[in-house]
Symmetry: C2
Subunit: 228 residues, 2 copies
């Protein structure tokens, strides 16, 4: 299977996105005076844990974050991957109801939640922006539910890879920051199944691989797998 790397043109090592968000830009357009402080988390470092006070809001500057819940017997469900530009950590309640960890070394901007909410209270425009942001996340979650409830393993992995490719911002070759375990825990599968399906997709010509974590999708074939 390592042949894929030989058959395909040499994949460029990620040059980083051409445009990366300036860390000093405001988190939301309608709150220019809301400023955060930069922070860095190492691989596998917890950013916040379930039950902890939710007093900070985060925006990813570079790297990747997973937010997840765990059942008492250890089963883990990853709710979302947060990539460059994504905002996470917002809650209704005083405490976090899920945990968040850096997947790789990750730079974030941190904003105080109280300030956030105080400004929103008096700024309808900001509050509307927050509202519509939450609604967009809700739509995304619904797609996630559809994926878990009514899609086969093949379809789940194909949809996942297509989404990550799109969000990575780079057409062509892209890198998966997360492990097979992360993917499995996001898609409600096991690592073995994820691995088998990726191999199958490669065999069907839906993707090319360079190692386990770099790949290039054949969009037409992927779309064919997904149907709609």
């Amino acid at each position: 299977m390592a042949l894929a790397a030989i058959r395909s043109p040499i994949p460029p090592v990620s040059p980083g996105p051409a445009i990366r968000p300036r860390p000093d830009l405001p988190i939301l357009a309608s709150a220019p005076d809301l400023s955060g402080s930069p922070s860095v988390y190492g691989r596998k470092q917890e950013i916040f844990g379930e039950g902890e006070e939710a007093d900070r809001v985060y925006r990813v500057v570079s790297g990747a974050v997973r937010s997840y819940s765990v059942l008492s017997d250890g089963r883990r469900q990853i709710n979302a991957f947060h990539l460059r530009g994504d905002i996470f950590g917002l809650e209704t309640r005083p405490a976090h109801h899920q945990s968040a960890e850096a997947i790789v070394e990750t730079r974030v901007m941190v904003y105080p939640r109280r300030q956030f909410e105080a400004i929103a209270q008096g700024n309808a425009h900001l509050a509307c922006e927050l509202w519509s942001m939450a609604l967009r996340q809700l739509e995304h979650k619904q797609a996630h539910v559809l994926l878990l409830g009514r899609r086969s393993a093949l379809e789940r992995v194909a949809a996942f890879l297509a989404e990550i490719e799109r969000r990575s911002g780079e057409a062509g070759w892209f890198a998966l920051p997360m492990t097979r375990r992360d993917i499995a825990d996001y898609l409600g599968l096991t690592i073995e199944t994820v691995s088998r399906v990726v191999t199958q997709l490669e065999a069907e010509g839906a993707l090319l691989r360079a190692g386990a974590r770099r790949m290039r999708l054949c969009r037409a074939t992927i779309r064919q797998v997904l149907c709609d």
Copy 2:
């Protein structure tokens, strides 16, 4: 299995909740002047379809609504059941990205979306209420994702029944407004599996039944199935 109805005290036919929301009450506390118009939908009647213009917002006065997406090959995923008091139909985009149908005869209040948004634009308090409503729905969706991704059929059905019991507002005997197909399409299972699991839960003493749609949970046993 019909013995359950004999073994247990005769279940009262639903007397309806003691307190039902007055249809003329404002949809949200911070928008007292936002008034809607009442409307009634019959069993299986579509309230809105995927792709239609999302220009109305709804609140359930009585009855039950399912909102769902369908794949091109007919697989259906129910995203949510809306019961008395619930608000649904809010969207970020101009068009609905899912469909909604009345499950039984359902009375709703209908509010114009434009008016809704216009008021929110100038009323930070309302906008914040909408924001926090969306965040609460987001939390609920995350629980749904955990259910579909990492829970067994037994756990899914138990959690589902517990939630409906809670939301029905009546402790003790309660009615399921939805069919086995609806439950299956919400939980990512088949009707046969739902049926078998309900039978199993009954055999384990986790619930009593009066016909297929009325039951009474033994909370301790249900909690035991769920662990956390």
